[in-house]
């Protein structure tokens, strides 16, 4: 199967005057095309660092990252990175927020503009194009942030706890909602989350990280026997609880 992403023996440490903080040690895994993988791990273990490395914001001290078979530095693949907060700019309308990435990458054409409008329409923000971010609910803002990432047509999506700023109920619906959108667009995605049920209901595979410095403790493939594999159906499936307990136990055992 075609690999969108491949990490080999990644090490990373932060350096400050107070000392060195080892964040990641010997992380290796791969992501297949169209696959949705969740990463869970204790707080502060290095999950955001991992996504920053993959997106190229920082460089690994050891090891290599390949995207679509090319080293991260030479890669021309568009990697979409959705941050924990929506970071919508209040001085721009929703539409202008959504096309920010296109502006920055000089990709504003009639075609991409139309795509932005289409995506906004498709995901229920059509009549809010000229609104300011503060006029939208938390879930709508998160959807706008996702569209801002999607209009760049990324082959790989990185999601860093994108729902954690939402209240529990919105989080469930928006999480399921956005999970469906990503599946529908056929994207490969890497989702970092604290929420085990979110990880299980959305992903094909869950990677469990150890505490800092993070290394991979275990990878658990998720297999559900469902006619219609939606996040909601998964939550009600009998396998859900089994997986939940399995991952919970794995996270809470120190070797």
């Amino acid at each position: 199967m075609e690999q969108v992403l491949e990490l080999k023996n990644i090490h990373y440490a932060y350096h400050t005057l107070e000392g060195e903080t080892l964040a990641l040690t010997d992380i290796s895994f791969a992501l297949n095309k169209g696959e949705f993988v969740s990463i869970v791990g204790p707080s502060g273990c290095g999950k955001s660092t991992l996504l920053s490395l993959i997106s190229g914001l920082i460089e690994p001290e050891k090891g290599c990252i390949k995207i679509n078979g090319k080293y991260q530095k030479e890669s021309t693949t568009n990697v979409g990175y959705m941050l924990q907060h929506d970071e919508l700019f209040e001085w721009r309308t929703i539409y202008n927020n959504v096309i920010l990435g296109l502006e920055v990458q000089h990709m504003l054409t009639a075609r991409t503009k139309k795509r932005a409008h289409d995506l906004l329409d498709l995901y229920g923000l059509g009549q809010f194009e000229t609104s300011r971010p503060s006029e939208l609910s938390g879930g709508m803002r998160q959807r706008a942030a996702l569209i801002r990432t999607l209009v760049l047509e990324p082959d790989l999506l990185l999601l860093d706890e994108p729902f954690s700023a939402l209240d529990y109920q919105t989080r469930l619906t928006v999480g399921d909602d956005i999970g469906q959108i990503i599946r529908k667009e056929g994207k490969s995605a890497l989702l970092v989350t604290h929420d085990l049920s979110e990880a299980i209901s959305l992903a094909d595979r869950v990677i469990i990280l150890s505490g800092r410095p993070a290394s991979i403790k275990q990878t658990i493939p998720l297999i559900f026997k469902l006619d219609l594999d939606t996040p909601l159906n998964r939550r009600n499936a009998p396998e859900f609880k089994t997986y939940f307990n399995l991952i919970w136990k794995e996270l809470n055992t120190d070797e």
Binding site: S55, L57, N78, G80, Y81, L83, H85, E87, F89, W91, L100, G101, E103, V104, Q105, R148, L152
Partner: protein, 265 residues
């Protein structure tokens, strides 16, 4: 209007009465002040040669209005203030941007900026005259010198407190530092830039007046210093009143700009 509850109506009525009292009191204070001044001067309680009087000031103003000399003085001061203000804004934004681009540069220059900013700028004016001569340039530079260092420091500070998450977003979208500047730092600093303008317009006026004291043939500052030397107190006090009005108008101009920006962004 008729569907307002009586409580709401009483509240609104009270509010309106409060507003009316405030405005009326303000006008009364001014009138009382002017009247006392005028009457005491006429009665000889205060020496009108030293303290002048409202009517003498007004007469003096109309005299200068008729021979048109007042327009020259007002125009010169206004021109010098606006020019030094615009230069201060442009230069301080450019320098603050440069400092933002290079944290090394900003760290290196920090002590110099702090020292220059805390220096009493009026001390520089005589030096400027020696260097640049008694010209308009000197006065404009004097106006700038009062405002520029503080302006750079405050703009740079406002650039550095921009939400790092928003800058990270630009990088995740494939942008570079220029994009971070043009899409995040500058737009989100517009309120800071405007409040910086509000401070600077006043400071530039101070600097220009200091410059005119020392090196001018025209302008309100020149009028003030000249009239004090020849003991024409009508001129002096009229110039101060005009200065008050000019400062207020310039400040209101920026407030207007602020309101327009608030509307747009």
């Amino acid at each position: 209007m008729s569907n307002l509850s009586t409580e709401q109506q009483t509240y609104l009525l009270k509010h309106r009465r409060h507003k009316r009292i405030v405005v009326l009191s303000r006008i009364l204070i001014l009138l009382a002040f002017l009247l006392t001044w005028e009457l005491t001067a006429r009665a000889g309680i205060i020496d009108s040669f030293i303290f002048s009087s409202p009517t003498k000031i007004a007469a003096c103003f109309f005299g200068m209005l008729l021979d048109k000399s007042i327009f020259l003085h007002l125009g010169v001061t206004l021109y010098e203030t606006l020019l030094s203000f615009l230069l201060v804004i442009a230069i301080s934004i450019l320098v603050a941007v440069a400092l933002w681009f290079s944290s090394k540069l900003s760290e290196i220059l920090d002590p110099y900026l702090v020292v220059l900013n805390s220096l009493p700028k009026s001390a520089l004016a005589p030096l400027l005259i020696v260097w640049l001569g008694a010209t308009k340039t000197t006065i404009i530079v004097a106006g700038m010198s009062v405002a520029i260092f503080g302006s750079i420091l405050s703009l740079y500070t406002s650039f550095t407190v921009v939400d790092p998450g928003k800058i990270k977003l630009i990088y995740t979208l494939g942008g570079n530092r220029f994009h971070a500047l043009s899409k995040v730092v500058l737009p989100s600093s517009i309120p800071a830039i405007i409040s910086n303008m509000k401070v600077n317009i006043g400071l530039c006026l101070v600097g220009v007046i200091i410059g005119e004291f020392l090196a001018a043939r025209d302008g309100l500052g020149y009028l003030i210093i000249y009239s004090s030397q020849v003991f024409k107190m009508d001129w002096l006090l009229m110039s101060i009143v005009l200065l008050c009005i000019m400062a207020t108008l310039l400040y209101s101009l920026i407030s207007l700009l602020e309101r327009w920006c608030l509307h747009r962004f």
